[in-house]
């Protein structure tokens, strides 16, 4: 099983190039704007999935509450956009003009103090990263220093997801409640609903995701990545090699939370609203399923997993809306039972055979097999 480390290093760069080509060239040429926007939405989940690869696939820390961080990132962005959409001119029919519409509906007469700083875009960007990061840090310290792990940790993250959902729905005067924050229009006067903005946001999302892949790859390639693998295997040994295991778990959990938050913020920008339905238990579990299907030990696998499962979700819920959840559950059970390393694991297992098949195809296409083509397949 040298595969994990070795495969990553050798095939990663080529893999990232292929991913970049698919995302930046193939999909934009193939799909209309509506579908491309959907892919952009799926990609925001890929951020969460990459975070889960770090935290769950490598660190062995299963979080069933990534929706919390996705949601917090998304809500931070939504608060900024909502404030911009609620200028006095466009809200003059309200009893208190200049505050978001849902506040007015809930008899609020002034903007709450914690909304004030979200007038600043710089603050919003910082808050989008730091609030989820800080929450994950605090949860991490509280849990990992006490050596809470495994199933217990997973349950606690579920509880936090449930609590945050209830909080958002219950405090609808401050949060928009169950409807979430809707009618987001412009960012510094730039209409995010226009066609050009949607294209631009899609490419921004891709660029950030690829940047995230490089960051994750750096972390996993460092000694810290090896330590995470070592911890998953023999936590006690790592501790008795002089490492504070909790510190590393806190780090990787916080990093995963920040990945999720960036995904959430990009979700808000591309989809144009944020609601509690992306925060709670079900979306959080779905995010784990994307990662498991793609391969929890593979950064790129998790991205393809997110794309594939979400594409299937859209496809099936368009055709058989009632069956989707059952299908998703079945998919998860099947993956865990038969392909514990997901698509990336299957690919790795059949790498040799795929290589031969590829060579045969290439040979059939050209009488003298092109050398670079073969080598490309191996490097």
């Amino acid at each position: 099983m040298k595969a994990v480390g070795g495969f990553l290093r050798k095939h990663d760069l080529a893999g990232i190039l292929v991913l970049a080509a698919i995302l930046l060239v193939v999909l934009p040429l193939m799909l209309d704007l509506f579908r491309l926007n959907l892919v952009g939405k799926y990609l925001t989940y890929a951020f969460v999935a990459v975070g889960l690869v770090l935290c769950w696939g490598y660190g062995g820390v299963l979080s069933l509450g990534q929706g919390v961080f996705f949601g917090l990132g998304g809500y931070c962005m939504a608060m900024f956009l909502k404030l911009e959409a609620s200028d006095p001119a466009s809200t003059k029919i309200q009893s208190t003009p200049g505050i978001p519409d849902f506040m007015d509906w809930n008899q609020l007469t002034a903007l709450p103090w914690f909304w004030q700083p979200f007038h600043s875009f710089t603050f919003t960007l910082l808050a989008m990263l730091l609030i989820p990061g800080l929450l994950a840090f605090v949860i991490g310290i509280a849990m990992f220093k006490r050596r809470v792990g495994g199933v217990y940790f997973a349950i606690i993250t579920q509880v936090i997801a449930a609590i945050l959902t209830i909080l958002i729905i219950g405090q609808q005067g401050y949060t928009g409640g169950v409807n979430g924050m809707t009618d987001l229009k412009t960012l510094h006067g730039w209409d995010i609903r226009s066609d050009s903005a949607r294209y631009l946001l899609y490419f921004l999302c891709c660029a950030l995701l690829i940047g995230g892949v490089f960051l994750a790859r750096y972390v996993l390639g460092s000694k810290l990545g090896k330590l995470l693998l070592a911890m998953r295997d023999k936590e006690e040994r790592v501790r008795f090699s002089g490492y504070d295991v909790a510190e590393f778990k806190v780090f990787v959990f916080t990093l995963a939370a920040m990945f999720s938050a960036v995904g959430g913020a990009l979700f808000t920008l591309q989809v144009g609203f944020m609601s509690p339905s992306f925060v709670g238990i079900v979306p959080s579990i779905e995010m784990v399923i994307f990662t498991a299907v793609g391969g929890r030990a593979s950064i790129l696998g998790a991205i393809y997993g997110s794309l594939l499962v979400n594409w299937a979700k859209t496809f099936f819920s368009e055709s058989f809306p009632q069956l989707w959840l059952l299908f998703m559950g079945g998919l998860f059970i099947a993956v865990v039972m038969f392909f514990p390393n997901g698509l990336a694991g299957v690919l790795e297992q059949h790498r040799v055979r795929i290589g031969e098949w590829w060579r045969k195809c290439a040979g059939r296409l050209r009488p003298t097999p092109a050398v670079p083509l073969q080598r490309e397949n191996h490097s």
């Binding site: 460092s222 000694k223 810290l224 295997d233 023999k234 040994r237 008795f240 090699s241 002089g242 510190e247």
Partner: protein
Amino acid sequence: MNMTVQPISNQVVLHVEDLTVSFDGFKAVDKLNLYIDRNELRVIIGPNGAGKTTLLDLICGRTRATDGLIRFKGRELTKMPEHQIVRAGVGRKFQTPSIYENLTVFENLEISYPGGRSVFGALTFTRTRAVTDRVQQIAEQILLADRLQECAEFLSHGQKQRLEIGMLLMQEPELLMLDEPVAGMSVPERRQTAELLRQICKGRSVIVIEHDMEFVRSIAHKVTVMHQGKVLAEGPMDQVQADPHVIEVYLGH
């Protein structure tokens, strides 16, 4: 019967005094005193359930003492977290080989190198010449130099045991504790391990738990016999083997 052997003061590196641990009233280790000298190789023997492994667990912080003190080079260990005990210079090998099966032999040793132990340190850790040299040197010592790039899960049982000893040596501990290092090894492997132990106790103190009396005889400087959480006898091998109490509870007739 000599319950405590008074140490030669400036030589002692580890003091264990009145150490007690009680699990729901059962005293696994009971008012135990133990003194280990610098550069000493001490073997602890005793019947199953005598508290030998618990004693090592207490020293390395895996189990917390109910009472008593453990002083290592003047520092009190009973309240320190495990990783700091390790950093203070105590290394512990577990009974079953505890290595990272999904990493290579090289990486196993590299992770144990005392450097880059914080989060930031691990992120920025680079494989310097000093690290590779040290890995190479230890690998030669544990006879695994030709298998450095191999995945650790493909090693034999004896090789895994040696690899774990090597990982501990990477940490340069001043006190090394080994729990049944030759359990499950073949006779030639035992001989290799005995030779290795003789080498590594130069410049550090070593505590070994062992059942195999022949192996004990081949390595021990001094033997401590434990029974029901207490020290039953202590001294050179011949003296201990002739002790009637020891024969009764452990060695048999």
